[in-house]
Symmetry: D2
């Protein structure tokens, strides 16, 4: 990729919310993308970003975006080739469709289109072939615009962890119990009176998302649709008093029966040649890192590694009920949200499918 | 039971530790037992209790025990019929055996003798027939003394929850992921730097205990031994920033295949006739309470109910991988520790097997 | 007081909010008061209480009130002699005035009328003579109804702690830094993302309230008004990750110069003869308890004592800048809110000023 | 300073403890210093660092030091020009003296020598003239070695905040209430059972340190001793459930009476020309940063700024009791501990007093 090319103009929809802010942070200083458009509600439109936003990130609001004027989420007002959508599910469906129809590439973190037949639900290291749906989507929409989605935050790390073993041994059954950070509920999100010194064993809609989205991500691209992966997932979701990082206890059964050592080696040897070759700015060196310590990964100690784009796996051991069990961890608002959308966009740019670039 | 009988003299071994203190709290004002002996290390012996103890309970050190003199854990020095043992596992084995040999009934919260062939691992509402081992134990030991144990804290609530469905449908497989309170690690226990805003996905030895102890509790009394229950358990244990209360996400498969409604009704209809009839002072009205709210039970909100002697169950639903899944909660330092020992003792007294009482 | 008298009918305004719920809890089983009316917003009116309320208390919603029908906060619809007001400050002013005008005694936890010239801001153990304003208030309002207020939560414990030393030595200057529980902000209140592992050194309006309300409470009743106490207060308020209990570090200078020993004895000897004689159901045995331990009082360990109606004081020592410094603690949603209103009402009943009772 | 000079060899005493680890982190990749010696207890001596240490930092143990062999804290075994001491106070006194006598420059974070007459207690931006004591110290010790100390963690931010106003207006009285992070107690430090959902209003020895150390730092160098600054400090110290960052509420009275605006401007205009000119690697651009938001600084959101070397100040306003009040925050284990020692060493190197360098 030539470094001297002009940056691609991008926008963020839902820019004042917690995930929208994360997009803004990740796009600050991005080598390929220039954030030029911030979309939010009618109420915010017309204000400079710094006035419209209740900034809740730990890093400062990047200086270059402080005075960017908020626009309504209307494609006719936005001059950009790509939008990243952090819209609330109550409006994301229609707005994203409108942007796609108007010729803009939409990378959405919302749930609305994830299960639509022609919409890829992608992790570039896992199922890049699903991007093959885009051509059909463009054809059906009659526009060069399209929608690409990334998964629910807790699904992300599960799907990343299942990918190498599904490919090699065939996953049959998955039990997962999550312990999810409060940041996953946005801002203001979980009241402190509910979570201080407590665990809430319920997150609305989360278990259903995990049980279906993981199967689409690991499903087979059949030319015109994705065939769900033929395994079954059972999820139990809990909210814990952690700020960032979803921890998940997983058990799996497999069609093939590797030894524990082979199973572990599959993770140790796993890498993402695609990513490495393409030099995507947001891709981690290895998407999955195996931790050897008996008591890791831990959210507070490990979640920031590699800029929050890793899935960490530890405590891999045999399971008396299924075949193997282990613990996974990932950064829910980066790899599990804004970073995932960004990586999808980077992948398509690197592949020459966006931005007029060649790989 | 006659109310006018003299109270039975009891002692607490390991009285200065966190569980030992809980015994002292629960024995204050107990209608059947009079705490007369406090045993601790050589270092503490001779001191009044209030000076030897670093009191970490929320209620005040009961006035009547403040000046009780600490003794060494030596049966020849203790004038009592029963001892409750909160000894550290490093010494509990030998000391408890010595007390039993000297004719004292030992109710132990330590792990050392739990799996011994002639030692009952009991929950009075679940497996009172296991007390049948005591006669053999007394015979073998050549003394009227004996040892009774209660389970590891996180096993307690699992075993209580499995009991009614194992009896009715036959449990085959169990997956359990625990989120355990810091009080389970004693005092000083878990450093705040490790757990504030964090989850630690490992508790040494805990998974092994759950996987075997639940099978002994629900095992069959064969006259001279307990045959382990023929199901398999897989446990994943986590420490969370909760003060009291272990929450557990459970999935089970059953031999018989009840409907979800039948499965739930089994819990709703479950009661402990034994307990009710015997009027044990520490027994809850119903050992298991079903919660209907979508997001309960929760440690902070529910764990104190019925003086911490309940197992709470909620979110009962079908499991796509096994048959049913649900969430359970219990008070780890009461029902999961000191209260469990106490209930075992009360049961034997009510049955006339201790204290010269008739039921 | 005769025990056989009928209970006095009371209502709660703002019954669905966090403080309103606390009133409901405290009124359950109250020996003098019968809760018959629950007032809330138009939106809730007509619903049974259990459906209208998002119950956030640790104890269950009392069975006897679950089906009580919510009414609008309109005096013509409420059949009761007393209302306890937990209304939001945005509407409390007018609504409370309307109730008083209609002949109902209003005990308000809201800030609106606290500084009004004819409205008592009272703590029965501290300034009962301020109730002398009620006669004037009734005359001015042309009704037997009136409004009585209690202080802001963090002011309560400061005023209680200053009272005995102000009376004896004359307070001149007060420095107070508070560390306040999240429950003080109501529900949902403080977002967990803001307070987990954090301190927020600001609570809107709180410092101003402390600096003036303490002076009114300890002011002199001049027949037709309260003359503010002639000391000056400087407050710095912080929110901490504590659930219940405001802790305050205080330094004071005094006109008279007692020795440290005399100063401490003033607290040790302090009692509330009024309270004891009147047998108010919600009054603690002693309003102020001195703790001797070097590291107490602590919110988690001490705040529930005496049903949350105490002010605890500890670490009393000389101050190099002012005269003495110490730490105080109290339960912000009980003694600092609902319990304070209730105690005011009990006092007036016991004095025969309400409910047709004689003391 | 010439960049091509060889790095200065340095060691860390007490390298396995929490502060020792922080020194190791800060020295990794340091442009002037090469960490070559790690000193710890006899028990650890001989082991590679990674085996001897219970690493509790969030960043990984730097690869280059993982296999460095631990030595005993004996100057004859250590080949270095400088040692940074994170020794426990129980042994720091003698060991540090031994190192100084043997010709090594000791930069100590321990309390033992802070108040010794010839030992500088320094903050390079505040009182560099106190380094003038070193010549006398070397003379008295008969060695080119010496000891330099930095203050207690909570004193650091107070002294930094008092410095510009003391110089300009003359500080007379200081009231400070601290809310201190658990990391200040080292590891394992504060038990989670003590601090979860709690505040502990006591930290042993802390108040005394603040009340005297701030006066030495801001004292006058009289050629052969430091004359304590003529103001009085009253401190109240609390432990809160925060991981990193001490927050302090401060009130001050001054000899001169600036307006609030002048007072604030003093902080806004404050800078450290010395630091800027000398390009010390660990110095922040400005030592004190004024925050304008009404609710800042906050530990979780602000403490990491400028690599934890700042003192942040906010909420500057008039105080009704003294003259002005405000809130300060700093990183207790970096600027309040290891980073402070490092900055002292960098300053002396830059001034040509160490390492054979010229400024």
């Amino acid at each position: 990729m030539e470094e001297k090319r002009a940056k691609i103009k991008v926008g963020v929809l839902g820019a004042t919310g917690a995930v929208g802010q994360k997009f803004v942070v990740l796009l600050s200083g991005h080598p390929w993308f220039q954030l030029t458009e911030l979309g939010a509600s009618e109420r915010s439109a017309g204000k400079p970003y710094r006035e419209a936003v209740n900034w809740v990130q730990k890093v400062d609001l990047p200086r270059e975006f402080q005075n960017l004027e908020i626009k309504e989420c209307d494609p006719s007002q936005m001059d950009c080739e790509i939008v990243f959508s952090a819209l609330d599910a109550s409006i994301a469906g229609e707005v994203e469709t409108a942007f796609a129809k108007s010729g803009i590439a939409v990378f959405s973190n919302s749930k609305n289109h994830r299960l639509s037949q022609l919409v890829p639900l992608t992790i570039p290291e896992v199922n890049p072939e699903h991007f093959g749906l885009l051509e059909l989507q463009q054809k059906e929409g009659g526009s060069k615009g399209f929608i690409v989605t990334n998964s629910n935050c807790s699904t992300m790390f599960l799907a990343m962890a299942l990918a190498p073993i599904h490919q090699k041994y065939g996953v049959e059954k998955v039990q997962v119990t999550t312990m999810q950070a409060v940041s996953g509920a946005g801002y203001p999100g979980v009241p402190s009176l509910d979570i201080l010194g407590n665990v809430i064993p319920y997150i609305g809609g989360e278990e259903e998302k995990i049980e279906i989205e993981a199967r689409k991500i690991l499903g087979e691209f059949k030319g015109d649709r994705i065939e769900l992966a033929p395994f079954v997932v059972s999820a139990q979701c809990n909210r814990v008093a952690v700020e960032e990082g979803h921890l998940e206890c997983v058990s799996v059964s497999l069609k093939a029966k590797p030894s524990l050592q082979e199973f572990i080696e599959t993770y140790r040897n796993h890498s993402s040649s695609l990513t490495t070759e393409l030099s995507l700015p947001s891709a981690p060196l290895k998407p999955i890192v195996v931790m050897e310590e008996t008591n890791r990964p831990q959210p507070k100690k490990d979640v920031e590694r590699e800029k929050g784009m890793l899935t960490l796996i530890g405590r891999i051991r045999e399971c008396p009920v299924l075949d193997f069990k282990f613990v996974i961890l990932g950064h829910n608002t980066i790899r599990g949200a804004a970073g995932a959308s960004l990586l999808n966009a980077e992948y398509l740019v690197a592949k020459g499918l966006l931005g007029g670039r060649d790989s």
